[in-house]
Symmetry: D2
Subunit: 432 residues, 4 copies
């Protein structure tokens, strides 16, 4: 099984592409969402085992609602909405749309519309979108194509969520069902040794370069002062994290942030999210089912608290987002992405600054805050990023569930420090 | 669409029937469960919108687990369980089985086994049960047939729960999907006038007569003293309950039990569970979808608190369970049951003591407690009824979702006073 | 230290007594409330460690509010309330008074009025009440004296709550402070053997006899049928309950009601409320502080669930309230009451039907429901008893914290089955 | 009433002062804590109406426990602890002390030790501390005096908490009791016009200068890049915030961070914490009781969410902590502090950059994170600041409840964005 090949300079990152390229890209992105759902049973489409892990059915509908709301209704003359209540059911959190929305923790409590009806909805939206892409008035094209770029990147983000939510929801089941038992697996092995690459300090510029698509939260590009530092050449491995566990890491309060310790006490955390103790040692729940923990693979599905505690235990620290971006800038966006079809982080190769892109999102020591001079977009689309700029931490680099053409050096992902269900790992840093 | 005809003197109420009759009855009962699920979409099978409203898929599996646990494993030589984890997933609350059970509020959080797999499970159990019924050793037959009677009555109880849970779960959806839009509806009309029938007091005997099947909680038959009383000839109607609502019943604290008032304040109750205010007046969610409230139909889906408050408002009271049984004894078990295929309570005919059976369960003023001399069955089956004898109230008479051959004069149903999702109505009484 | 001597045929139970007797009784009852608080530090007066355990300061004010609301405001011309907001702060649960009330769980969150101000409030009410008792118009006297009877019995009930709440609140403190370290203690001893007394069945009359004061919930007197039974001659002892504990009683699900088992799982119950495991064996928190468990004393501070489970373990059952009253009727109201000044249940003497009164309230197997023909008083005073007739169980006989002249054979106390903070014990029964 | 005069170059900020100066300073700081409690009733000492608002009694004991734990036990030979359980009762959150601690939300549930006993505890610690200060071995003096500086600054922080917790706890009472009705009040007036002062950008150094006492979280001093900006010359006033309220600020979702909007929906916020709507317009609860809102006074007791929303509404933004420090550095620490004895923020005078110190803590747009190169102290004292570096926001400048000699340009205070009970206000900024 392999996923549709990405187009070079693909349209989601290039709003100036010809309309036929845009159309091809629209089709490619939309197809991948459905492709990712092919291994699911109808029952899996409806599953929601935590407020943040939405049902696949909901994702498929929500991304279509996004096109309907921000493109078809304002820009396609005569467009008829598929169902009058879907804007209530499939809006996620856009308060300014004024219809309100069905509560997030209850997305799994709706058996209707059925999966078949949701696919009908998608195809209704697709037909209209194709017309809009080809027929939008030239005077509206700048706005339409800009929103199309957001819509496709938005759907790519939900493709990653589809994968992580399916994983979370299936892992909740004591039968440990596999999403795709056929997924490729790396051979069990020892990791390559951990080395560091030094990076110079000084005044550097970070933020969106202005070439290609970027979210508003990557702007404006601005100058920051960095001290020289050293960055680990690969992600922390399962082998290393197991040492932390064996050393009593989860019992040693001196390693933990106060809120992290509270989390441990409340939820009884003893290991990363998908580790399971068994008579044969640690196992890990993956999208291919339960399997022995591979020491060479990056540790994954850890919270910020765990990343921070591990770094303290190791005598290191996490990098800031500026340090990460400084190290990544100018390097090719290469790594293990959703495009590989493996859906699991893989062991690092030897060499400097491996795994910067793909495999696991990397927790940084930076709070998610506006860059100096940041301005959110006007209207409901302005809620996309700006209203979350409080209480969350920045992650960088994408994961094995991210599309390769979705990620870049300036990309800022953000989650609350306790959240673990994304593919999140740890890269260490230290002062030079 | 019609349901399988019940057999007269059917086996669930007659453990001494010939084995072929027992087999026919087993098939008839088991078939009805699947029949009731035919109108469902796959997605509906998995839905659980409240802890007490289990997914249809779970009901179908649980009743099969019951046969597997209490009949096949102990009595059928060489029986192989269908799946080693199903006893954990599909046990409901039998603590003494020692495997534990999956938490009740999370029955809807399992997409696997799929619906198809659950049907396979049922058919696996059916094949084995048919063998057991025909081939069980004569020395074991008394115990096997007694348990078979419990197993079939148990499945009939879950058939009622299937219906009430499907109703609850679909009503949660803002699209108000119908389970079966084709269900027959009574014409909108005025109710027949409310009259009362006097019943003599004195020392009377209540409890299981010893003929036919009865649960342990109906025994022993014993004497109680009754004062003369008068019992309403029909259930309270929607028209009458709407008067109570219009008179500010839900705002008048003097009408309510303390716990009931707390319930109103906490949950904002303003009407029975399925009433919905609309621009065209009150509507009611039914298994055929949303429709205008029919004044002649019995008010349904009310809590004990509402039944008690209504009776106080009306200057009457609820009957005790002994009064109800006294009035019902000797009368034919006739009324509107699941067998009718209407699945909604219907307007009463004129005449004395109408609707005693079927239509709606009737809240009594009696707490669910053991009868004098009650002894629970030994072992896990003893958990069936006895361990719930605290904090609940008795209901009598069956409903439009009950099988006709499941109900009798001595039958004691029980629910917590706040629960509303069963077909529960109100019959008034007063001192003579 | 000794408490004021009770007056024979005291006024709270005799509304026809001369006004000077009524006045003497008013003073006697009011004095005892303050007397009970003498050992308290100012800080203890404000303490509330659970929603149901009100601060002593609140009790002292609430019982005064009761006189102010139901006697002084309606009947004493020109009466001025002490403070306009006190009716909001010190109403307990009378919804029909329409001023609302401060939330019960937050009674300990008010430092003002201070303790001194609450005593001023009491004395303000006392001065007015003395005038009312002596000067009320003859045409109003019947109503005034009836309400006075309720008011004094009400204050006696709160005296018991004062004691049980002080005990609960101090026991919450890890320093285990004693309320009165000087309280008398029974010598550690073995209990007298457990024997039973047979009681005949038949049709008997229970309920208030019409002589002396009784609450509305004891009426009307009515006939019930009893089967012959045997009643234990004393309460279950600590020694016997320790056997149950040692036998794994709290781990054996087969002994427990479903709701009781849920309570154990949720709250981790392993013993009665005030038992504390220590290196020297079980200790018990008392109003005199922590001390070794005395095997001869009655087990106390158990829930209905524990009483019921113990009886099941012992192969017995709890008596019904009718059985208890049948056995108690005609016997003198003698035993260990608050009047003794010991404030702890004491070992039983040998002989038939000991400890029926005093020592510990006795859980019965009867739900708290209205007697046939029960009518609540009109208006807010009708909330006193009637609105609680759902979900609670009846207890009989009074305790070591009850006033001797407050209790009688027909007295019905009631609590939720999980509640343990009153002095509640166990008397066993069995069928003859 | 006036507070003890601060000593110039006082010891808490000067560990190299002579021992007699240190002793004088110890006495001065310790005295102020007791002085602040003088207006309290005994009952007020025990009050805790929210998890974060500890009882005064607890504060008085906890700061003494701090000296006992970090100074007397390790450094004073032969020191005997006052009570063996006090380390359990009065530790706040130091997990590494290994005795555990009484749960924070339940500090108000302990009537013992009494207030008098807590004062005895203080005096016991004081006597020992005086000996330690004068007699500590020269080889230990460096460590002792460093910890003494922390201990005194710690007590000063709890003096501010004493004031804010007393305010919160009394404001919970519907009688609105005043802590001190005699406190001076500013005349009701119009505020001075709002002007801005421009500040140059560039590379600047922030953090502790190395002179005088500073907490570890102010280090290391380091360089940051700033763009030119303009800072408001005074705090936002009640008049301005009332405009925001009147303009529907609390109903306009576009103004709010996502978490802030959730807070509004959950808690029903409609105004700052202590504003109360009345028939005569807005009133404000103060330590002198309820009084009309003064338009010229700074708005106070707002959350970060409200500060951020107000700034957005005003078309401005909050300053970063580096901007604030840049503007404050070199200016004298002058303003309205606890030393004034007013305990309420006061109207600003005209002129550039007024109110930087005192009156209200100023929310900054900076998350509370470690400075580059930050190292926490080893051991339990290292928990003081470092473990909170996640999820909180920085505030600067001190308040009317802060001691003047406690504050400085580099001082970093931090709270969760939803917290309002401290004296927190708003200073606006904008890009130049």
């Amino acid at each position: 099984m392999s996923y549709p090949a990405p187009i070079k300079d693909s349209a989601p990152n290039n709003p100036d592409a010809p309309r036929t390229d845009m159309l091809a890209d629209y089709r490619r992105v939309r197809t991948l969402s459905e492709h990712l759902c092919e291994p699911l049973a109808i029952e899996d489409y409806m599953l929601q085992t935590a407020a943040e892990a939405s049902p696949p059915k909901w994702h498929l509908a929500h991304v279509s609602w996004f096109f309907e709301t921000f493109l078809l209704r304002p820009f396609l003359p005569g467009y008829r909405v598929f169902h009058p209540r879907f804007e209530y059911l499939f809006n996620s959190y856009y308060e300014q749309t004024e219809t309100g929305f069905w509560p997030r923790p209850e997305r799994g409590l709706l058996s209707r519309p059925t999966v078949a009806e949701v696919y009908d909805y998608r195809h209704h939206v697709d037909a209209a979108m194709e017309r809009l892409i080809l027929e939008a008035a030239p005077t509206q094209w700048a706005e339409v194509s800009a929103r199309l770029g957001i819509g496709l990147n938005h759907e790519q983000q939900h493709q990653e969520l589809l994968i992580t939510d399916i994983k979370y929801n299936l892992a909740y089941n004591p039968l440990y069902p596999a999403y795709r038992p056929d997924l490729a697996q790396a051979p069990v092995a020892d990791p390559v040794p951990l080395t560091y690459t030094g990076v110079e300090g000084g005044s550097v510029r970070i933020g969106a370069s202005g070439e290609g698509f970027a979210y508003d939260n990557e702007s404006p590009r601005h100058e920051v002062l960095l001290r020289p530092f050293r960055l680990a050449d690969r992600l922390v491995t399962n082998a290393e994290f197991r040492e932390f566990v064996d050393d009593g890491g989860y019992d040693n309060v001196a390693l933990w942030l106060s809120d992290g310790w509270g989390q441990i006490k409340t939820h009884g955390w003893r290991a990363p999210l998908y580790w399971r103790a068994s008579d044969e040692g640690w196992q890990e729940m993956t999208l291919a089912g339960l399997r022995p923990l591979n020491p060479a693979e990056p540790v994954c599905h850890v919270s910020y608290y765990e990343a921070d505690a591990f770094a303290r235990w190791a005598g290191k620290r996490l990098p800031t987002e500026a340090e990460w971006e400084r190290a990544a800038e100018g390097r090719a966006v290469q790594g293990h992405f959703v495009d590989d079809g493996v859906l699991h982080p893989r062991p690092a190769a030897a060499g400097p600054l491996q795994q910067l892109y793909g495999d696991c999102w990397e927790w940084t020591a930076s709070a998610y805050l506006p860059y100096p001079g940041y301005r959110a977009v006007e209207g409901a689309l302005g809620e996309y990023n700006g209203k979350f700029m409080c209480g969350q931490m920045v992650l960088r680099g994408g994961s094995c569930a991210t599309s390769q053409d979705h990620i870049r050096a300036s990309y800022r992902n953000f989650f609350y420090p306790h959240e673990r269900w994304q593919f999140k790992g740890i890269r260490l840093a230290e002062d030079a």
